[in-house]
Each structure stands twice: as C-alpha cells, then as structure tokens.
C-alpha cells in the first residue's frame, strides 16, 4: 500500500546510517542549486530599480527579509524536531534541533544587523525597542540560550529533552514576532508579502525577493543536513572513544 510504503520510507530515513547515506547523495546537489539560485538572485537584486521613496536602500530588503523569514522558519523546524524528541524519543530529532540552533542564531543576527543598517537611513535610528525588533532580539537570545544549554550537558539525550521543552515553550514567541506589527503600533512596517489579500509589493521587487528567499531557504536546509551529519559523526566519535576506554580498562 502506498501509505505503508511512505511510512516505511520515512522510518528508513529516521535511521541515522541511512540518513548519512542520503545526506552524502543529496548535499552536492543542494549546494549546487543553492549557489545557482544565489547567483540569479544577486543578479536580479542589483539589476532591479530603486524604490520611489527608499531609493536603492530597498536592496537591503533582499537579504534582510529572507534572513528574518529563516530566523522564524528555523525555530519552527526546531519545534517540530522537539516534538519528535519528546513524543517519539528519536535520536535524529535530537540531532536536528541541536544542529539547527547555531544556524537560526546566525540568520537572526543577519536579520538584526541588516535591519539596523536599513533603519538608520530610513527611520533615522539604528534601533528602537518596538514590538517587532524586541521580539526578534528575544528570539536571538533564545537561540544563544539553547546553544549554551546543549553545550552545558554531557549527556546528549538529557540535553535534547531539556532543550526540547524549552524550544516548545519558546515557540510562543514566533506568532508574537509574526503578528507584532499588527497587534502593536510599531516603527517596523506591517507584512507586505505573506498576506491574506496577496502581496502588496511591486513585482519589480517581488521576484528578486522570492528568488533570494528560496536561495536562503535552500542554504538553510543544505547547512542543516550537513550540520546534522556532523553531529551524528560527533556522537559516533564519542561513543567509539568510550568503547575504546572500556576495552582499555578491561585489558589493564
């Protein structure tokens, strides 16, 4: 049956050794497609016209918006993995949310830095403690906290369970970030791409933005799979070292 086949395929991927095999096969393709999309996206970015009000600073949008989108998507991937850790107790889910945290922190930092560099010429200030900026800053701190928590515990299984609880509690911040511009009066503009009534942004800017967003998203998944692979290897190294130490202890 197709359904049981799909479940079998999924559980096959959930096996770390099979995951490593799959990662080795798809990573070169993903990296190649990401590079091509970045080349197209950057070409369109610098070929596009300036905005009638913002001038050429609108080009900051093509890195700021995808990074901000990824900062939230990465946390959502971590939340889904955290459910995998707590409900199915799956080691690959542990590996997934641990590997994603530094990536999320990096993309959030890009969003904060480029937002600040866009804010200065357009708003006249580098930073303001409005709801959007503050909630994204809280997200950045949460990523750092999760990285620190994972590094503070020697037992990866225990670290994963504690992190998973914290990730799910922290997920409340994601809708706050998304809707902060609607719920509160913020200096940051409201949504102009993902809206119920369709994008309000001009097509001149929409296409480079979409290509850059897909490129950044693919970059995230490429790095996530590679970081997961590294984490599986790291765990194998420490398991094998423990085994070697035990064998040495028996021989002594």
């Amino acid at each position: 049956m197709p359904e049981s086949l799909a479940i079998t395929k999924f559980s096959d991927l959930a096996n770390p050794t099979r995951f490593l095999g799959l990662a080795a096969r798809i990573l070169p393709w993903m990296a190649g497609i990401t590079a091509i999309l970045f080349a197209i996206g950057l070409y369109l970015t610098f070929a596009s016209e300036g905005d009638y009000q913002q001038g050429m600073t609108v080009r900051i949008m093509y890195v700021h918006v995808p990074a901000a989108w990824l900062s939230m998507m990465c946390y959502s991937v971590m939340a889904a993995s955290a459910i995998g850790t707590l409900v199915w107790r799956h080691p690959l889910a542990d590996v997934s949310h641990k590997a994603a945290a530094p990536l999320g922190a990096a993309f959030t930092l890009i969003a904060l830095a480029t937002g600040s560099l866009w804010g200065k010429p357009m708003w006249g200030t580098w930073w303001v403690w409005d709801a959007r900026l503050t909630s994204v800053f809280v997200l950045f701190l949460m990523y750092l906290g999760l990285i620190a928590l994972n590094r503070a515990m020697d037992d990866p299984g225990k670290a994963a369970r504690v992190s998973a609880v914290l990730i799910l509690v922290g997920f409340v911040n994601i809708p706050i970030i998304k809707f902060s511009v609607d719920w509160w009066n913020t200096l940051h503009q409201p949504a102009s791409v993902i809206r119920l009534d369709g994008p309000t942004i001009d097509k001149e800017f929409l296409w480079p933005l979409l290509i850059m967003a897909i490129a950044f998203t693919l970059l995230f998944f490429t790095l996530h799979i590679a970081a997961m692979r590294n984490e599986i290897w790291r765990r194998r190294v420490s398991a094998q070292r423990r085994m070697a130490a035990r064998m040495a202890g028996k021989e002594a």
């Binding site: 600073t57 990074a67 290897w233 094998q240």
Partner: protein, 61 residues
C-alpha cells in the same frame, strides 16, 4: 553617510556571517571525519559495523 554605504555594509555583514556559517559546518565535518578515520585506523569500529565491510547497516546515532 551615503545610502551606498548602508547597502554595501548590509551585504558585507550578511556575506561574512553566511561564509562563517558555511566554513564552520565544512571544517566541523572535516574534523569529525578525520577523528572517525583515526579511530578506524587504530582498530576501533562501531559494534554494528561488519568486520571487513565498507558499508554499514543499522545502528543509532
């Protein structure tokens, strides 16, 4: 400062952070592969690994 400065600074900051991220993942992978190869060379292998096989089946992370 001109708008060009803010645009260039944004792209440079984004590029530096992205390249650091790619570099970290790349070098971390290389270091782990090296460690695994060293363990293999010293005769320490996973319990689930076949004695002379080059491919592995099953096992946990």
């Amino acid at each position: 400062m001109s708008h060009t400065f803010y645009i260039a600074a944004s792209y440079v900051v984004a590029a530096i952070i992205t390249l650091c991220l790619i570099g970290w993942v790349w070098f971390d992978g290389r270091a782990r592969q090296k460690e695994l190869a060293e363990l293999e060379a010293s005769g320490i292998r996973r319990r689930s690994a076949k004695p002379v096989a080059t491919t592995e089946t099953g096992g946990a992370a």
